[in-house]
Symmetry: C2
Subunit: 205 residues, 2 copies
């Protein structure tokens, strides 16, 4: 299981979306400022200062602060969906363990972007919010399908598949809220622990 | 179980902290504005407009915007701790079910205040943040103690009690993030479902 988790995580590069170093600096500065001051407390001046650019130079790359939040949100949600899609393949019990471990590990490591995209979600424009909602539904659907396959195969004992899928995803997502690197667990240790707890929750023998 | 959950929830009145109707109006307007615009996007003018008072009148009751966030955060965290403390009494397996059901139900119903106090946590002043951290530690300790009692009694099979306690709390807390009243479950239905999933996670036979 561990090798597969590692391979999935190694294949997900948050920053690959922005090949230009200037764009990376801008997006990185936006992420830092949103995390520190919130979306509404961030001005383009903060992002310009953080990236070492003028506000005029920012506009070459991003039309607005909301575009930056949307870019971060779309990237974070797309990576989470890709992770879940890759992990969900194969035998259901093993796939579930890989999925929960990789998802938990990812949220422990990428807790800053995960928090920003969760906490500032309501600041997205309507069309952007719809696009993010579609990515979330994709992720949920993949987890539900995996649980359904496991139930059909007699591997999981679950009375409410969508409810169990929500619980499985919650375990990982909420890690971004409470996890700190100086705490009791490494991301890897927490990933193993949560994979075990999720398997029990789904009645894996 | 259901009667005990109902009795605990009925005993928790969020607004009892603020006996004066003026204070309730101010706190309610602050909560609404923090939820809508974020803490950093909220000015005292928004709160004054929302409560129908002048900003000068606000200062009679609260010294700053941060005081209002702290008041909401302390109240929310104290209620969560009280809920958990009451639920944790008695036979461990039953107590665990009551705790998860009540905690889940509370977060589904009070998702607005739960989101604000989670999402805006970093805006608290240092001394206030320490006070909130102490309340969170109390809540975690109560859940860990309950799980420890259950393990000693042979009712729970858990290898990592703090890790399992974090997972149990995550299930309920994350409900505030994703729950919507027009979704698939009523707060009561979700509470029952999550109580069952948590019991399985802890190895209750």
């Amino acid at each position: 299981m561990q090798d597969r988790v590692k391979a999935i995580l190694a294949g997900l590069d948050l920053w690959a979306e922005w090949p230009s170093p200037t764009q990376r600096r801008i997006v990185g500065a936006a992420l830092e400022s949103f995390a520190e001051r919130g979306f509404h407390g961030t001005s383009l001046k903060h992002i310009a200062a953080g990236s070492g650019l003028s506000t005029a130079a920012l506009y070459v790359h991003f039309a607005s602060k909301e575009e930056l939040l949307f870019a971060l949100s779309r990237r974070g949600h797309a990576l989470a969906r890709d992770l879940v899609a890759q992990a969900a393949e194969g035998e259901p019990a093993r796939a579930l363990s890989v999925l929960v471990a990789a998802f938990t590990h990812w949220h422990a490591e990428h807790r800053t972007i995960a928090r920003v995209v969760q906490y500032e979600q309501s600041a997205l424009e309507h069309g952007h919010a719809l696009e993010i909602a579609a990515l979330r539904r994709d992720t949920e659907r993949i987890v539900r399908d995996l649980l359904g396959r496991g139930v059909d195969a007699g591997v999981f004992a679950v009375s409410d598949v969508p409810g169990a899928a929500a619980a499985v995803l919650s375990l990982g997502i909420d890690v971004a809220r409470w996890y700190g690197p100086r705490g009791r667990w490494s991301p890897h240790e927490l990933a193993e622990l949560y994979a075990d707890l999720a398997a029990r929750m789904l009645g894996v023998p």
